[in-house]
């Protein structure tokens, strides 16, 4: 009997709004254990919003979401904290704390969530920094690192608790091709070495096809296609082929998102911390 494929994330009919505007129109998808799932789409397609939902950072309008077998709507505060300890995230900007050294940044989750002694935490921090080839930079401040190094440090911090799921937001955005390719290799290495499931949001096609086990293509808040890179390459869908061939689509310009960016209108709601 074949082994049953386990899902680490299951999303059913996810609908979300920013104000009156519907951003996601009933997304249904799953992320399987040990796979790298790449979420792709043009500007305003809703991929970043979907990622924020998968990380349980946004309030949805409707739908259900299960992370590591737990329906997030049914979790109390303590259970949510426990769940979050099993998640890691590497944000597009790195989101390293500027007042801490690289080592302190990586050590922070250990310091906050474990009762390990300082020496053990130091060793674990150094190990993770070695994995991302930043072993010599432990005592530098984030401001002293290059863009690629910041992203690698963010990976080290995201992985320090050996999470079950790692989220990566545009890992290769803004990097030169060589550094971007090295980061792709790092994602593959992390998956193989630590056996985690990885969700990557990117619009870099080369990177997506290099690392993905499966891909979800979003278009204007809907799922256009879910499948393996090969299936997507062979898809007859016209819009997918446009995306793959990097053809501009006038409909891709999302006026609302564009205006929000121009005016600096808050996309993430209020002054809530």
């Amino acid at each position: 009997m074949a082994d049953e494929i386990k899902s680490v994330i299951e999303v059913r009919d996810l609908v979300t709004h920013y104000g009156p505007r519907q951003i996601l129109n009933g997304i249904t998808m799953e992320v399987r254990e040990g796979e790298i799932m790449v979420i792709m789409g043009g500007s305003g397609s809703g991929k970043s919003t979907l990622l924020r939902h998968l990380m349980a950072l946004e309030e949805k309008t409707s739908g259900t979401m299960t992370i590591l077998g737990q329906n997030i709507d049914e979790l109390n505060m303590r259970e949510m904290f426990d769940l979050r300890k099993k998640l890691g995230v590497a944000f597009q900007s790195g989101a390293l704390f500027s007042s801490m050294t690289v080592g302190e940044n990586v050590m922070l989750p250990l310091f906050e969530h474990t009762k390990l002694d300082r020496m053990t935490m130091d060793i674990m921090t150094r190990m993770k920094l070695e994995v991302v080839e930043l072993g010599e930079f432990e005592n530098l401040m984030p401001a002293e690192l290059s863009g690629g190094m910041i992203k690698r440090a963010a990976f080290a911090r995201a992985c320090v608790m050996d999470p079950k799921i790692l989220f990566c937001d545009e890992p290769s955005a803004g990097l030169d091709p060589a550094v971007a390719s090295a980061l792709d290799d790092l994602i593959l290495r992390l998956r193989d070495a630590l056996g985690m499931s990885i969700v990557v949001v990117t619009h870099e096609l080369d990177s997506a096809f290099k690392i993905a086990d499966r891909m979800t293509v979003l278009d204007r808040g809907d799922i256009l296609f879910i499948g393996t890179p090969e299936e997507i390459r062979n898809s007859p869908n016209e819009r997918i082929q446009k995306i793959l061939n990097r053809e501009p689509d006038s409909d891709d310009v999302d006026i609302d998102v564009y205006l929000r960016r121009l005016t600096g209108e808050d996309m993430y709601g209020g002054a809530e911390l």
Binding site: L57, F81, R84, L108, E112, D266, L273
Partner: protein
């Protein structure tokens, strides 16, 4: 067919209405953050989210200890200023020897907490707003959430506790610095010894006067912290937005301090 643009009255009313709603929303946000801070301070350990003493000490150093030189210097200058003005005015009535009474009373009940509060609002309130604003823009607050670290517990509570402890201590220190500077000026000008000056100050002041000043300073510390946090957390629009909320936080904090001070003085003195 083009629509007629709204007239000045409608635009002004619309503007006032929006700003009023924003103000009410910010007061609500401030109250929520105070409630959350109290919750995490006492209930944090039950949820595996204790407030670290180390973080509080770091904030106390930032908000308090590093501010001592500038606070002492400026409060000393204000003490001398008060002495000069008081002597000048009392000379008219030939009562310059009574200068101690006025100076002691005014510094301990009013100028000490007010000037200290205003200076800390400019120094610490602005840095708190800028820090939180930058963290929000850089997704550091999101990173804390995903790591399972509550940002209010991790960032706000240490700052709030530090302010509640340090602002009264700094106010007391500033009272002493101000009185000492005023006493030195009085010694030089009126030939009243520093010991005699302080004896008179102690005679004229009661514990209630001291507590009035220090009690107000606790409230000022809370106001500075919460206003900084609310503004920092509401930042939009990148680096420019951080600059805007920082300025806004300082203006709001100073305004809140002055108005609260007036209200407390009215309640404690007149009614």
């Amino acid at each position: 067919m083009s629509e007629t643009p709204p007239n000045l009255f409608v635009r002004t009313a619309d503007n006032v209405g929006r700003k009023t709603l924003t103000g009410i929303e910010e007061i609500g946000n401030g109250a929520t953050i105070i409630a959350q801070s109290v919750f995490w301070l006492f209930m944090g350990p039950r949820y595996g989210q204790p407030v670290r003493a180390g973080s509080v000490v770091v904030q106390m150093m930032e908000a308090g200890i590093f501010a001592i030189p500038i606070l002492v210097l400026l409060n000393a200058a204000i003490g001398v200023m008060l002495a000069i003005q008081s002597i000048y005015m009392l000379k008219i009535f030939g009562a310059e020897a009574r200068v101690t009474d006025g100076i002691g009373f005014v510094i301990v009940r009013e100028f000490g907490p007010l000037i200290t509060g205003i200076l800390i609002a400019g120094r610490t309130g602005s840095s708190l707003a800028a820090r939180l604003g930058t963290m929000r823009i850089n997704q550091e607050l999101d990173a804390l959430h995903v790591m399972g670290i509550n940002p209010v517990r991790f960032l706000v509570v240490p700052a709030l506790v530090a302010m509640v402890i340090m602002v009264p201590l700094l106010t007391f220190l500033c009272d002493v610095a101000s009185l000492l500077a005023a006493g030195l000026y009085v010694q030089i000008t009126l030939d009243i010894s520093l010991a005699a000056f302080f004896n008179q100050v102690v005679d004229v002041l009661s514990v209630g006067d001291l507590m009035h000043g220090l009690g107000k300073s606790v409230l000022f510390g809370i106001l500075i912290c919460i206003i900084g946090v609310v503004n920092g957390a509401s930042v939009t629009g990148g680096a420019e937005g951080v600059g805007k909320v920082t300025t806004r936080a300082v203006v709001q904090a100073i305004s809140a301090i002055v108005l609260t001070d007036m209200l407390i003085v009215y309640i404690a003195t007149i009614s």
